[in-house]
């Protein structure tokens, strides 16, 4: 049906109507007092969302641009870094490190499994000479629906004492608690088209005092992504390069909505959506790709047996106007992913699960009792 598409992918995520309308306002000059007021409010609310007093910098870039900025501003050529790789995005941060000539050591896990914190502990404890300058991990691995154990890995980084912890929180921020100050996270990068409930186009980086210390001697070249420039200008509620002012208009409204809902309610909602999705998928006899104890609050990945993942996506889109994500790289055709991040309600999950049931019936998959998925989801929604 024309104009009826519902996005249940891990990004872009659905955008509230009042955010869309705010973005349709005429631009204002980015060097005006009016714009600085908006930027001041946004920065304050971003700090609230990040649970931090650290600098919170806003870039015109995708999440990858934000994460690259988070890496290259605090390191020098040849620096030794540990990178957690258990999906497309972990792999990408390894590629960024390689591109900049860092001494990149990968700690890997199979796609669909969580990184093992013990492997980080071993490497960090063995590093008596403190040559490891940074540990770089992806919190919620968007490609597989796995939530890595950031809290434990970070504890090992803190025990090391020297290394910075740099985290891709692209699909975790705004979905699950990321207490930046409490955990002492040094670099935290994310992108707008996720938990923030606005379209793609902005990247965010939170930077600790310890990271700024490293910045003073870091020698990797940069200009557009030089966070020192953003920090200097953010102090005056402005940006070093022209910001996408209409995206700021949208973000201002979205953050006001998030504040009205409250952090705890936002996290509880994502927990409920995740649990309902997983319970439903199990009840339908479809294998979940990520284990329960490492379930992303943003994405539920399913590796269907006996029915084709791409056919499911195709029918879901054509018949029910619901867009699900497919698998990336070697997972193409093997999994589908249900995004439940950002502006997603219980009703959306019920619509998705009931449409999934109808799709499975249409495809002749019979390894479930019709209604089982929606019953399981409803129970979770009633209880959580």
């Amino acid at each position: 049906m024309d104009n009826k598409l519902m996005l249940m992918i891990p990004g872009p995520t659905p955008v509230p109507e009042k955010v869309l309308l705010a973005m349709a306002k005429h631009p204002m000059g980015h060097r005006s007092g009016d714009f600085s007021e908006i930027m001041a409010e946004i920065t304050q609310n971003l700090k609230w969302l990040h649970q931090t007093q650290n600098d919170l910098l806003i870039l015109t870039a995708s999440g990858t641009g934000a994460m690259e900025a988070g890496i290259i501003n605090f390191l020098s050529p040849g620096d030794r870094v540990l990178v957690g790789c258990n999906g497309k995005f972990g792999d990408r941060w390894g590629e960024v490190c390689d591109a900049y000539g860092l001494q990149t050591e990968r700690i890997t896990a199979e796609w669909g499994k969580a990184l093992d914190p013990e492997q980080f502990r071993e490497q960090l404890e063995a590093d008596k000479e403190k040559t490891i300058k940074a540990v770089i991990i992806t919190h919620s691995e968007t490609s597989t629906g796995v939530l890595n154990d950031l809290e434990t890995i970070n504890r090992h980084v803190k025990a090391h004492g020297e290394a910075l912890i740099m985290v891709d929180t692209v699909t975790s921020l705004g979905a699950v608690s990321v207490p930046v100050d409490q955990w002492g996270l040094d670099v935290v990068a994310s992108g707008s088209q996720k938990g923030y409930m606005i379209p793609p186009g902005l990247g965010f980086v939170a930077v600790s005092t310890k990271a700024w210390e490293a910045y003073k001697t870091a020698k990797l070249p940069r200009y557009y992504l030089d966070l020192g420039k953003y920090r200097k200008d953010a102090a005056k509620n402005t940006t070093p390069f022209t910001p996408p002012v209409n995206m700021f208009f949208g973000l201002q409204v979205a953050l006001q909505m998030m504040q009205a809902e409250g952090l705890e309610n936002i996290f509880a909602r994502h927990k409920r959506l995740t649990a309902a999705s997983r319970a439903a998928v199990k009840a339908l006899g479809l294998p979940l790709f990520a284990p329960d104890d490492a379930a992303s609050p943003a994405i539920t990945a399913v590796a269907p047996a006996g029915v084709d993942a791409e056919k499911i996506r195709s029918v879901m889109k054509k018949r029910f106007d619901i867009v699900l994500a497919g698998g990336q790289d070697h997972l193409k055709g093997k999994i589908f992913r249900i995004g439940h991040l950002g502006f997603v309600s219980d009703r959306d999950i019920l619509a998705a699960i009931s449409s999934l049931e109808a799709t499975l019936l249409e495809l002749g998959y019979e390894q479930f009792s019709p209604g089982a998925g929606i019953t399981a989801a409803s129970k979770v929604i009633a209880e959580l």
Copy 2:
């Protein structure tokens, strides 16, 4: 008056209502066939605007990000480059080159004057060993309203034979003809909030075959700004990193509007707006900052004598809801700049000039006959 602001700054420029409304549509998945169709249309129309068959790449970045990408993808550390510096943006490209460890040689001119093509010729002719790898210049210097003589400087670069020509066309593209293929421009970078008539958030880079040859051996580090990734994906009408899909919706409509107006009409309109603005300013007895033979088609900078530039800007905004730009860096307080780039009509110029006359009267400036400015502007509009 609330909600009545009229932007006459060199960016963000005014945005047509139908572009704003297109941007308020719900995002779509950027890996969908629907999005690829939009990207294919946009890319085709961007090539039309650039008068080129070269690759035309779209980045989530400001104009500075696009220009940095244009520089760092085709050079290696220590490469010798000539950078034209006669304003804030020329200076900025010099800083980018320094940040990446290039051997940067600046050819300077006083702010408000055009670069002297002869100085480029001398340096290029003296380079018998062909050590100059690139010549980097700003076409329309936004900070001063000066249009540099790109055609002549480029002719000297072509005579050299080895060096690439890299051009910041941020405030010239869409205002004056930049025949990329006819002139053989290797790297042409621009930003969305200018002649494109959409808000800030996108950067564009056109890349020649000769530049792609240099790319093969270029060793400056990059990842997010690695244009090879964008080229590879653009061939499939997609992007390596999540694009700001709502900005694409707006750009699609804006480019359709530009095609309907036609290139020649667009350039003629900007020529008329520039001539009308300059004639009016002269008739008001206010000194123009850039000479007639190097007048930017996007910005008219004025260095008022006997009346304070910042006071003019303040009254223009408070009384007439017209935002003019001030001077940057050492020109702060010394000049004001009238932007007439993009979605600007003859009526807008008449409104601005008549408001400027009223402002001058209010400020007690008496070195003009009331009505002289608007008469001069009207004459130009009638004739051109």
